[in-house]
Each structure stands twice: as structure tokens, then as C-alpha cells.
């Protein structure tokens, strides 16, 4: 592991290019990104590279971040909303080593945020880039396993099969039972997988001032939502889209408007709920908020 800490004078990994990928590869990825931004929600095939981290562990997001990041960027990496989960630590360290960039845990301070499974609670601003790690980019994959078929369905904007699936939930269970990877319609044209974020986060994608980029390394696809783009979660007039709700506030900061993790505290059914977004939670505690029930300011 000595090579991983051996850095040259520029603060990057000796023997490797800035941010690991060679410039030709970055250019190839940037081309795919430009196309993705030009056609919001469309999955652009790209020549994903073998990375030194495993497929399925964020290689798509890492390649997108590597293609976007510059020396002056400030990077935040979260997994499940938290900066200190093992894989977030590993990816943040990868860029600290290979690009020597500044890193932060504060949402507001970051110029690039790479995420797995969450969108930060604090609203993003113009100029920020949110990079999603995507396992299965195809929203229709579990309805149609063949890529040749799903590309055809997208080309024809033939999304009946997705509406039927949502309807079947309602017919069988009385409600739409999808709680994450909840499909969205982007810019009125492409049905897109928001990656496995909880549906709680879907509304944050709509008209966001930030640039949202999605990278799927193993499946070799990139897609994007440019700033201020319409993103609508699929639903029905009589069964409108709704997000998760909890009966209690965060046990640490008292927030009632954030996504909560359930933490099991004993083997007798004891549990507490606390913010999944650790920066949001810590920020509220620093501002004087506490576990007092009902304190949602």
C-alpha cells in the first residue's frame, strides 16, 4: 500500500496523471457528459475504464468526478448521506491522493459532491455539481432485461410498461410500493432512474440550480440533468407521488424534515431515528438545535 501514499511534489500520486485517468480518457468522458447534458435524461454509452476500485462500488461516479475535477475544486463524498461511511472515506481518500484536492464534509463548501443513495438535505446552489454513483442506469431493466429492447422503448418514448408496473402496485397493494430508485420523467421526454436514492429525495432534483451528473461504470452509461430542468416523479392523478414520512423527529437534532436512519439500540425492539445526512444533522446541533420533539426549525 506504500504506493498509495507516495505523492510527488504536485500533491498527486507519483506515476499517475492528475485525478488518476489519463487526459485522453477524461476527454472521452467529457464528450459523453456534454452529450448527456444536451439530452437530459438520455443514457449516453461511454467507454468506461477498469478502475482500481471494484465495479459496483462507485466506478462510474469516480470517472465522472475525475473528468470534472480541477485543482481548485473542493470535494465532498457521501454514502447513505454520511461522509464517514467506509466507501465514502475510501473514495474521498482516492481523490485526495490522486488529485490532491481539498475535501470537505460541508455541503455548502463543496464544488463537487459525489454521492451514493442520497441527495444532501441542504439545497444545492448554482455552480455546484452533484455526481451520482449508479448501479443500474436503466429504469426499465427489471421490466425488460435486454438492452436492445429498452433502447428501443426509450427511442419511441414507449413507457407504458412502467405505468403498468406502477398501476399493478396500486391494484395489488393499494399504493405504489417503490421506495427508492423511483422513476422520474426528465424534461418531459426520457424516463430516468434517479439511482437508488429514496423517493424522499426525488423532489430535490426538480429545477435544481446544481448540475446533476450520473455515472454507471459497469454498465458504461452516463446521463445528466442540467440545472433548472423539470424532473417529475411518475404517478397517477388519483394516486399522486408522495415521499416517506416518520412519526418522530431526529433523536439528535430534532429535525422533522430530513430523511432518517433507523438505528437499532438493543435486542428488545429499542430503536432511535436520526438524520441520514450527517452534515445536516451536525450543522443543526452546532446551531443550537437538540432532540426536543417537534423542534423542526
Amino acid at each position: 500500500m506504500s504506493a498509495a501514499t507516495d505523492t510527488d511534489a504536485g500533491g498527486t500520486l507519483a506515476g499517475y496523471n492528475f485525478a488518476y485517468l489519463d487526459e485522453q480518457t477524461k476527454r472521452m468522458i467529457r464528450r459523453a457528459l456534454l452529450k448527456a447534458v444536451a439530452i437530459p435524461g438520455y443514457q449516453v454509452p461511454f467507454a468506461s475504464r477498469d478502475m482500481p476500485l471494484p465495479y459496483g462500488w462507485g466506478t462510474g461516479g469516480i470517472q465522472v468526478t475525475a473528468a470534472c475535477i480541477g485543482q481548485k475544486d473542493v470535494l465532498k463524498v457521501i454514502d447513505q448521506g454520511a461522509d464517514d461511511t467506509t466507501n465514502a472515506v475510501s473514495i474521498r481518500r482516492f481523490f485526495a491522493t490522486t488529485a490532491g484536492v481539498a475535501t470537505t464534509e460541508r455541503t455548502g463548501e463543496a464544488s463537487i459532491i459525489q454521492t451514493r443513495h442520497r441527495i444532501p438535505e441542504q439545497p444545492l446552489e448554482e455552480g455546484q455539481i452533484l455526481v451520482y454513483q449508479v448501479p443500474i442506469p436503466e429504469p426499465l431493466r427489471f421490466l425488460e432485461p435486454r438492452e436492445r429492447e429498452t433502447r428501443k422503448l426509450h427511442a419511441l418514448a414507449d413507457y407504458g410498461v412502467m405505468h403498468v408496473r406502477l398501476y399493478e402496485d396500486i391494484a395489488r397493494l393499494g399504493r405504489i410500493a417503490t421506495s427508492y430508485s423511483y422513476p422520474v420523467l426528465v424534461n418531459g421526454r426520457y424516463v430516468m432512474s434517479p439511482s437508488p436514492i429514496p423517493k424522499f429525495d426525488n423532489p430535490k432534483m426538480h429545477m435544481s440550480p446544481a448540475l446533476q451528473l450520473f455515472g454507471a461504470g459497469r454498465e458504461k452509461r452516463i446521463y445528466a440533468i442540467p440545472p433548472f430542468t423539470k424532473v417529475v416523479s411518475l404517478d397517477f392523478e388519483d394516486h399522486p407521488f408522495e415521499i416517506q414520512k416518520w412519526d418522530e423527529p431526529c433523536a439528535i437534532c430534532g429535525a422533522t424534515d430530513s430523511y432518517l436512519d433507523e438505528v437499532v439500540t438493543d435486542d428488545a425492539g429499542g430503536r432511535i431515528f436520526c438524520c441520514s445526512d450527517t452534515d445536516h444533522c451536525a450543522g443543526r446541533v452546532a446551531a443550537g438545535h437538540g432532540p426536543a420533539a417537534g423542534d423542526d426549525r
Binding site: M1, S48, Y55, G56, S179, Q244, W246, D261
Partner: protein
């Protein structure tokens, strides 16, 4: 206050130190050298080079040592290294007919020009554990050497059938048409044969074996014969732009398998034999044979325009043959998923509450 357990940098560092300790094992036992792995576990090295898509026995042996003998992990290490290498060009196609064969067998003819050469093979060994190997013995006495016939090269067995017009003609390479390269371009479907052969060449040996086996058991019947299996060194040539003629870079050991399969013919083609093709680095017969079976199955589907069995389904075969991708995605399930799981918990509790309300209402009626 209870704080959710989350791994910090220190936990990761300590885990990796423990891993390094485990890799070394009992320190009173002498350490394995990379050269020992390269020389004495050479078939594992060959497999790592194939699945890692990189011919470098030294680095493959290093990867095996670093990966504690985990072949898939070693292939992953080699690929991650390979991806950083600049690509300065493509070699000329290797001429396997000019191979200096160490092993060459045909199941379709009793004898043939160049002869049958058993070579260093496990075939016909009786699989009895050799306890003598537990004692560190001397190097075995060298095997007797035979003089090769003629110039030592052997014509391809299938060229004999070809001369009689019994083999299906291969599509000749178009001038200026580069072979597909899935390490540089995204995998798109439908794939042509050059692309799927590349995908199979770096595919997981176990997966290829299972797919090939499935075609023998009726899932996409191929009726194969081993036309020829040959193992030996081939020259690799490269045309530097500034010279304009091929220069030999060196030789690599390869295993090549050509399967002969019956084809009953169609309206446009008379009955003939068709070829399933397999090629692998090093000595890798199981891999080359399995690859040839799957190649044939994929060709069958291409001709028929439909895939009747898993081994004939391009997307099924090519997406799932890559063990570095497959193991990454299967093992990513170890990563935290508690945000999604919380969403599922919330949904299932709501559904159950709604169901309970309903049954209470029914009971009250």
C-alpha cells in the same frame, strides 16, 4: 447517546494491515517469491493473464501473490494496472499456423501432417495425490525430446477440410477495418464476432465452462468435434508507423482450439462444417475449448436470428462473462444500503398497517 457504527479511516487502515499479515501467513514459513509463483503456479498465472487481459507473467504472478491466490482478485489487480498503460497501437494478427507446437491434438483424424503431439498434459494422468511432492524433492528428470517433422510447424487441421470446400468460409478481414475493442469502446448490441470473441477471451473460465457444457447438454446444441487443439509459441508483430513494415516484438505462448460443427445448410448455403474458435494466453485448454463452444453457439444464433438457449444469447453471455464486473457488483451488496432499506421498512410498515386496518374493519362489520 448511541452513535451509528461507521467505519473511519483508521478502521480501514487497520483492516488492511491485518490483511497484509494474513497474506503472509505464518512468518516462520519461507515467503513465496514472485518467480516461484510464475514458474510453479503457471496455469494460475495464465488464467490471471487471460481474465486480466494483459500478457505479463511477472505481474500476473505478483497479482496472485498480492491477492493471496484469489484468481479473480488477481485479474482485477492486473486489469486496474493495464488500464493505466498508454495504447500505442495494435499488433498484426498472430499466425497460429506458424506456431512452434508443444502440444497439438486432433480428435477428427487418426494421423495428419505434423502428427499428434501430446505435450505436457494432465490428460491420461491418474488423479492420485503425489505425496512425494510434499517432500521437497529435486527437479524431475527432463522428458525425452523428439525431433519435429519438417520445419516444426503444422498446418491447421481445419485447412484440410477447407481445401475440400467442406468448411464454411470465414468472412475475410476488410482492408482498413479495425477489430472491435471493448476495452476502448462501450459494449453495444448486436455484437459482431470480433467483439464477442474478445469478450469471451477475457471472460470468467468457470462461466465459459458452464456455458460450453450447457450447449453439450442440449441448451443450444452444437454437435462439436475438436478439430484441433494446439499449444505453443507464436510471434507477435507490430508495424511502427515510422517504419511501415512489421517488426517482431517477441513471442507469446497461446492455446488455440478449433471446434468443427455440422451445419445442415440453408437455401443459400450447401451443407458444410462450421467453426467454433477459441484462443487464450498460455496453456489454457479448458478455456479455449469452452470459448470455442460458446463462439459456435453465438454464431448459430446470429444465423438463425434468435437465441434459443442461454449460451446463444449475446447480452446474457457478454454482460455476465466478465468476472471482474460480476464480482464487483455481487460484492457491492456488502456496502451499506440502510437508506434504501429504511425506505423499504417504511413502505412495508405502511402496507401492513393498511392491511390491519382493513381486517379490523371487516371484523367489525
Amino acid at each position: 447517546m448511541y452513535v451509528a457504527v461507521k467505519g473511519g479511516e483508521r478502521a480501514i487502515d487497520n483492516a488492511h494491515r491485518w490483511l497484509a499479515e494474513r497474506r503472509r501467513g505464518d512468518a516462520t514459513v519461507p515467503e513465496l517469491s514472485v518467480a516461484q509463483v510464475r514458474e510453479q503456479l503457471s496455469l494460475a498465472v495464465d488464467r490471471v493473464m487471460n481474465e486480466g487481459s494483459c500478457f505479463d507473467p511477472e505481474l500476473a504472478a505478483l497479482a496472485l501473490k498480492q491477492a493471496r491466490g484469489d484468481v479473480v482478485e488477481a485479474a482485477f489487480l492486473l486489469r486496474a494496472y493495464r488500464t493505466t498503460l498508454p495504447r500505442f497501437g495494435y499488433s498484426e494478427p498472430v499466425d497460429t499456423a506458424a506456431m512452434l507446437v508443444q502440444r497439438r491434438i486432433s480428435a477428427t483424424y487418426k494421423d495428419l501432417p505434423g502428427g499428434q503431439v501430446l505435450g505436457p498434459t494432465f490428460d491420461y494422468t491418474h488423479r492420485l495425490l503425489d505425496f512425494c511432492l510434499m517432500a521437497e524433492g529435486e527437479a524431475p528428470a527432463p522428458a525425452p525430446e523428439a525431433q519435429p517433422e519438417g520445419d516444426g510447424t503444422s498446418p491447421h487441421v481445419l485447412s484440410i477440410l477447407d481445401r475440400e470446400g467442406l468448411m464454411q468460409q470465414e468472412e475475410p478481414e476488410q482492408e482498413g477495418e479495425a477489430a472491435a475493442d471493448l476495452t476502448r469502446e462501450p459494449l453495444l448490441f448486436p455484437a459482431d464476432r470480433d467483439l464477442w470473441l474478445q469478450g469471451l477471451a477475457r471472460g470468467d473460465e468457470g462461466f465459459l465452462l458452464a456455458l460450453g457444457y450447457s450447449t453439450q447438454r442440449g441448451f443450444g446444441s452444437t454437435h462439436p468435434f475438436v478439430g484441433e487443439l494446439r499449444v505453443g509459441e507464436v510471434a507477435v508483430e507490430f508495424v511502427p508507423e515510422e517504419l511501415g513494415f512489421p517488426v517482431e516484438l517477441g513471442t507469446v505462448p497461446v492455446t488455440e482450439c478449433e471446434m468443427v460443427n455440422q451445419f445442415k445448410g440453408s437455401r443459400s448455403e450447401p451443407p458444410q462444417f462450421t467453426r467454433g474458435y477459441g484462443l487464450a494466453f498460455g496453456h489454457a485448454e479448458r478455456r479455449a475449448m469452452s470459448m470455442a463452444l460458446v463462439d459456435r453457439a453465438l454464431r448459430e444464433a446470429q444465423t438463425a436470428g434468435e437465441a434459443a438457449a442461454p449460451a446463444q444469447d449475446q447480452e446474457f453471455v457478454l454482460y455476465h462473462a466478465d468476472n471482474v464486473q460480476a464480482s464487483g457488483f455481487v460484492e457491492h451488496l456488502k456496502l451499506p444500503h440502510y437508506v434504501d432499506f429504511q425506505g423499504e421498512l417504511e413502505t412495508i410498515r405502511r402496507l401492513r398497517a393498511a392491511a390491519a386496518d382493513e381486517s379490523r374493519a371487516e371484523a367489525a362489520e
